[in-house]
């Protein structure tokens, strides 16, 4: 009997430290496409390997579907362990209400200030001098993805700029190819437009409009050109009737469409389909007009929790997310760029390397998420999804409404 007890006690004491360390952490995110799911699996594996347990809380759909669920759970007093959010203005009110964990301690211990590059990523996580999120990747919207096979079939050279792409439109169409693939979710409509705006109006004007909310600049004929270009792009996308972004990307992968304006997460899909950058598909950063990387991206936030063990696990996850190994593994799968300049991405493909070079050269631009409130973003999405799917809304109409939104944005 005593022996038994002793053995049990020994067993318990041996098991105890591990039991304390292993904490279940529910992580919510909206990474559900093939490439995204593969990337998130890397995170889960690394976290599980460190002794804790990643409880996956994937929410299908886009951020638009997932964010409400995430936020209402935090507000409703049922916080998850960690959650993906786009950094920017989305989380600000949650921070103000004291609902998100202060990570400054972890950030200082690990020297995030020195390793995270560009530093604007960390700034986006900073509120009143404290750090509230762990950035995990840089996602740039500024890409045009082209199917080499489609252009070959149409008998035209693969374009190197947006203008060449537009010029190739009729040839593509004659070959039975949809020139421009567009999904129909609102965020895609507004994202594609924003990329065109940066390329066509130029970075300075784009910043004046979106950062400074300058009504006159927004109403200027220079900015109006973007809408004219968008009308042309709209007719090129007229036959594209898919819903999700990855279905649109699939049109490009299969050669049914010539190209797609989409963020670098599209790359994960190309990769999953076994396509090789340069030979099967071509990528044009900044639509080939001005090469730039917009430094939006995903970040993880950690809702405040009164369980000390969970809080400790949250901090462990935060530091893990920024770590070199995970940055490499995750971003290779996701097709996004790492948040630190000191990792070796030798295995990265051509397109990622292009992105890294642009990043190193410092051609960076804040993302629209960082400049506009979700409310203003929502209004732009509503406008843009209507514009892209309408056959009658003119450039001037859309322009006038856009100016209104900018004028009323905070």
């Amino acid at each position: 009997m005593t022996k038994m007890k002793l053995a049990l006690a020994l067993l318990a004491s041996a098991a105890l430290p591990q039991a304390v360390l292993a904490t279940d952490l529910e992580v919510t995110h909206w990474w559900t496409s093939g490439g995204e799911a593969a990337a998130v699996a890397e995170m889960a594996r690394a976290f599980d390997a460190s002794g804790d347990k990643w409880v996956d809380g994937a929410i299908a759909g886009s951020g638009g579907t997932a964010r409400p669920i995430i936020i209402s759970r935090i507000l409703g007093g049922d916080p998850m362990g960690a959650t993906q959010l786009n950094h920017g203005l989305q989380a600000q009110e949650l921070i103000q209400a004291g609902l998100l964990q202060d990570l400054t301690e972890v950030a200082e211990a690990e020297g995030w200030k020195d390793i995270i590059k560009p530093i604007s990523l960390l700034d986006a996580c900073t509120f009143e001098g404290k750090i509230y999120c762990a950035p995990v990747n840089i996602h740039s919207w500024q890409w045009l993805w082209l199917s080499n096979a489609a252009f070959e079939k149409a008998g035209v050279a693969v374009p190197t700029t947006w203008d060449e792409f537009v010029a190739a439109g009729p040839a593509l169409e004659a070959a039975g190819i949809i020139p421009l693939a567009m999904g129909q979710q609102p965020w895609q409509s507004s994202g594609a437009f924003s990329v065109m705006a940066v390329a066509i109006a130029g970075q300075d004007l784009w910043l004046t409009v979106h950062r400074d909310k300058d009504e006159a600049a927004a109403a200027s004929p220079e900015f109006g050109k973007v809408f004219e270009a968008a009308v042309a792009a709209r007719s090129m996308a007229a036959k594209s009737n898919v819903q999700d972004w990855n279905q649109a990307t699939n049109l490009v992968i299969s050669g049914a469409a010539g190209g797609q304006i989409m963020g670098d997460w599209a790359q994960g899909e190309f990769q999953l389909a076994g396509q090789v950058a340069g030979t099967d598909y071509t990528c044009l950063p900044g639509l080939g007009v001005n090469e730039v990387i917009s430094t939006g991206g995903d970040a993880f936030y950690f809702p405040v929790n009164d369980d000390a063990e969970v809080t400790a696990a949250q901090k462990r996850l935060a530091s893990l997310l920024v770590s070199k190994e995970l940055q490499v593994a995750f971003n290779l799968k996701k097709g996004s760029l790492p948040i630190r300049g000191d990792v070796d991405l030798a295995t990265a493909n051509d397109c990622m390397k292009k992105g890294l070079e642009i990043l190193a050269a410092g051609a960076i631009l804040p993302s629209q998420d960082e400049l506009l409130t979700p409310d203003a973003q929502g209004q732009i999405e509503d406008l843009m999804v209507e514009f892209w799917n309408s056959t009658t809304m003119s450039a001037a109409d859309a322009h006038a409404k856009y100016v209104e939104i900018i004028a009323s944005a905070e």
Partner: protein, 313 residues
């Protein structure tokens, strides 16, 4: 409303093959075909392979029957990195259903009984507002209910923490959703029970009162045994209603306890690579199976239930 569908009445039937009869039956058969078509399409699509779907059309019967899509929909379709299919959603729905149906019927039957037999000051007023409440768009109340559930949780936590137990969580949990279903099922169920108890012979009640039976005594000994049919109707109404709910499931739960409808929408409307229409249709059918089974088994009782429940809108 109790005797919804009486036997056929009206004029006597004409000769079997008169022209009007042919037109009548012809129309009915065409319309019936239209109503039956979607169910047929769901079934055949779910039994085809993907190549066959791409070659054929939605109406053609399967050449080679496969049950693969059903297996996949049930046990391995993915949402995110969770690839355990709809089975999780099914069991979630079951766990949501059982307490919700029991609680809502228990509360509402007592409400109906009190309103019919034990009127008190203001009871008619509350009943009237309850009926109006059935017509308020849910969207008006969605957000404040989040706060109410959170506060219930915080309030209960005061006691549970004092007793050395953990914090009580209501919002985002099963119990929160059960409360919401109980609340929104209350108007129609209360109406149902109130009307039923009001229609019972008054002498029964009086006799029991003379014998000295009280509120609960009469309810359990006299009313309940007589109210069996209406309980069945209420159950059919609640089981279908709660099983089919999407809005509350989206707002008041979290991914692990998503009901089947929400998970279905997630599986179908989030694609990885190519859309698997056969799996989607198998999943859709699986989700519809429970209410359909109840419908086909319960027959006329279902008609009574929905006719009464229709007031819910």
């Amino acid at each position: 409303m109790a005797e919804m569908i009486a036997g056929p009445r009206g004029p006597k039937p004409r000769r079997a093959f008169s022209t009007p009869n042919i037109v009548l039956y012809g129309t009915l058969i065409v319309v019936a075909a239209y109503y039956a078509l979607p169910l047929y399409v769901m079934i055949v699509t779910s039994l085809k392979t993907m190549p066959e779907i791409r070659l054929g059309n939605v109406f053609s019967p399967p050449v080679e029957i496969t049950f693969e899509p059903w297996v996949k929909a049930w046990s391995s379709a993915c949402t995110g990195i969770n690839c355990d299919g709809l089975s999780r959603g099914f069991w979630n729905s079951v766990w949501i259903l059982i307490p919700s149906v029991i609680l809502s019927i228990a509360i509402s039957s007592v409400n109906g009984y009190a309103l019919a037999n034990w009127k008190y000051r203001g009871s008619e007023f509350f009943f009237a507002v309850l009926m109006i409440g059935a017509f308020i768009p849910y969207q008006v109340m969605l957000y404040p209910i989040v706060l109410v559930l959170k506060n219930i949780g915080d309030f209960l936590s005061i006691f549970s923490l004092a007793m050395g137990m953990g914090k009580v969580q209501v919002y985002g949990t099963l119990s929160g959703l059960v409360i919401v279903h109980t609340i929104f099922g209350m108007p129609i169920l209360t109406l149902l029970f109130r009307n039923y108890f009001s229609a019972l012979p008054e002498e029964l009640f009086k006799a029991a009162r003379v014998d000295g039976a009280g509120f609960w005594g009469i309810f359990f000994k006299i009313m309940l045994p007589m109210a069996l049919p209406i309980f069945v109707v209420a159950m059919i109404l609640q089981v279908t209603g709660i099983w089919n709910d999407f809005l509350f499931g989206v707002i008041y739960t979290k991914p692990e306890i998503y009901p089947m409808t929400v998970q279905l929408n997630n599986i179908v409307n989030s694609v990885q690579g190519v859309k698997e229409y056969n799996v989607n249709m198998a999943a859709t059918l699986l989700t519809g199976l429970v209410p359909l089974t109840i419908y086909f088994i319960s027959g006329k009782l279902f008609v009574r239930g929905i006719a009464a429940g229709a007031v819910k809108g």
